[in-house]
């Protein structure tokens, strides 16, 4: 009952009719490279930052982002007006980042091993996330950046994507559902599990 019919379903439903990029997308579909160039310019930073948030470093994020635009260019003719262009592009980016990480699985496994430095980050995260920790405001901003990036990297791909899209890219639950190709309820589940997993991990470390 409480999970039924939400505001997001009523008010935040994305419509391709409201897509501000509709005209440029139509031109790009006709093979207008200049129109597609304008779309690239508009979204190049957003795609790079999303790739970074999902992968964790800018060098790989840059490669992934370039591949995202190539994929988008090749497949723009197949883009259907079921979602906005930005949602479609975020979906490609998310899938590309997840695929990239799968291909880098071995390297990531090494990276995910807890090192003394990681424990230090975990400790700093704990201060932020623990309501009893009065020193949260004293955590250095630089540490916080690494701390969050590191802990987010340890979530499952779907949880990480839902978390990043929600908190770092201000996407609605409906939009995230379209990006991830799942139900909004599933997205909420991913988000909740991501938050709880982070919190539990930090408590265990304590």
């Amino acid at each position: 009952m409480l999970n039924g019919g939400s505001v997001s379903a009523v008010n935040r439903s994305e419509s391709a009719m409201d897509d501000p990029d509709r005209k440029l997308v139509a031109q790009a579909k006709q093979g207008d490279r200049q129109a597609f160039g304008k779309l690239v310019k508009k979204y190049q930073n957003k795609v790079l930052y999303l790739a970074f948030d999902l992968i964790g470093n800018y060098v790989d994020a840059q490669d992934v982002a370039q591949n995202v635009f190539l994929q988008a260019f090749r497949n723009i003719a197949y883009f259907r007006d079921e979602a906005t262009f930005s949602t479609w592009l975020y979906r490609i980016t998310t899938n590309a980042a997840i695929d990239f990480q799968r291909s880098q699985k071995r390297r990531r496994a090494v990276f995910m091993d807890q090192t003394p430095r990681d424990k230090e980050f975990t400790s700093a995260w704990e201060h932020v996330i623990d309501p009893d920790a009065a020193i949260a405001n004293k955590v250095e901003q630089a540490d916080l950046k690494e701390l969050i990036s590191h802990n987010v990297a340890q979530l499952s791909p779907q949880q990480r994507a839902a978390f990043v899209l929600k908190y770092f890219h201000d996407q609605s639950t409906d939009a995230i559902a379209k990006i991830l190709g799942c139900d909004p309820v599933t997205v909420r589940g991913h988000l909740l599990r991501a938050i709880l997993k982070l919190r539990k991990k930090l408590k265990d470390e304590r």
Binding site: G5, S6, V7, K41, Q44, L48, D130, Y167, R199
Partner: protein
């Protein structure tokens, strides 16, 4: 502690994605569900922490390289400019729209007129160098008819100019009859009306002079009216009428 069956509703509640009725019901549920209270607290703390988070900025060089590579790949290049011209050719010649077809028709018409003027002579309303309008320009008369008129008028006026009013009285009589028989006055009046319609002032002036002389000639009741005939001869000379007619005739030829 077991997970609550409304676990995901707390996310919906926290991000304000619930309808007011659902929100009130969930707040009621929150008062007695420790699990949901704990989850809500976790969400609040996470957001509090993330408010302080600022994504690390990429290296400037890396960002510039990234932008440059994308621009090289997706911005129009010299190669694309060729494609642009190919597209223009396709749009104008191969698959023209109605607008382009109309524009093409206008261009073809203008070029056709231009070439026609070059290869098939000047148009009828071309002004001659001596200031006279080319024969037939302002008159809706066949050029051959106008030529005949000029020929007949010139012949009559030449005779008027050359005759001796004293010695050639019989010839003068025949000349008057000839002018009347050829309806030269009527023809002059008709031509003058047409010249007036087209507002050809030079032609009107010329035809006025011709009409006046022909009228006076035809109104001579007897060849013995030498005085009138001499006056006509004088007018003819003063107006250089024969020269004007001759000039017109040459232009017509």
């Amino acid at each position: 502690m077991r997970q609550c069956e409304h676990a995901t509703a707390v996310v919906e509640y926290f991000f304000n994605e619930m309808l007011p009725v659902q929100r009130a019901m969930f707040e009621d549920h929150l008062t007695h569900c420790a699990r949901c209270q704990e989850n809500l607290q976790a969400l609040k703390i996470t957001e509090q922490a993330l408010n302080k988070y600022r994504r690390p900025a990429p290296d400037r060089k890396l960002l510039d390289d990234y932008h440059r590579q994308l621009a090289q790949t997706f911005q129009p290049s010299v190669h694309d400019r060729k494609r642009f011209w190919e597209r223009v050719i396709e749009r104008v010649l191969l698959q023209p729209s109605l607008t382009w077809r109309l524009a093409e028709a206008v261009v073809i018409l203008v070029v056709g007129i231009f070439l026609g003027r070059i290869f098939f002579g000047q148009p009828a309303d071309f002004t001659a160098s001596n200031g006279y309008v080319r024969l037939g320009a302002s008159l809706s008369v066949e050029p051959s008819l106008l030529q005949n008129y000029l020929q007949e008028t010139e012949m009559v006026l030449l005779d008027v100019d050359n005759l001796d009013p004293v010695a050639d009285q019989m010839v003068i009589h025949n000349l008057i009859q000839s002018a009347k028989y050829k309806y030269l006055v009527q023809k002059t009046i008709l031509l003058k009306e047409q010249a007036q319609e087209s507002d050809d002032q030079r032609m009107i002036e010329l035809l006025n002079q011709v009409e006046l002389i022909l009228l006076e000639l035809c109104n001579i009741e007897t060849p013995a009216d030498i005085e009138t005939f001499i006056q006509i001869q004088q007018q003819l000379k003063n107006n250089y009428l024969l020269m004007q007619i001759k000039s017109l005739k040459q232009q017509a030829i």
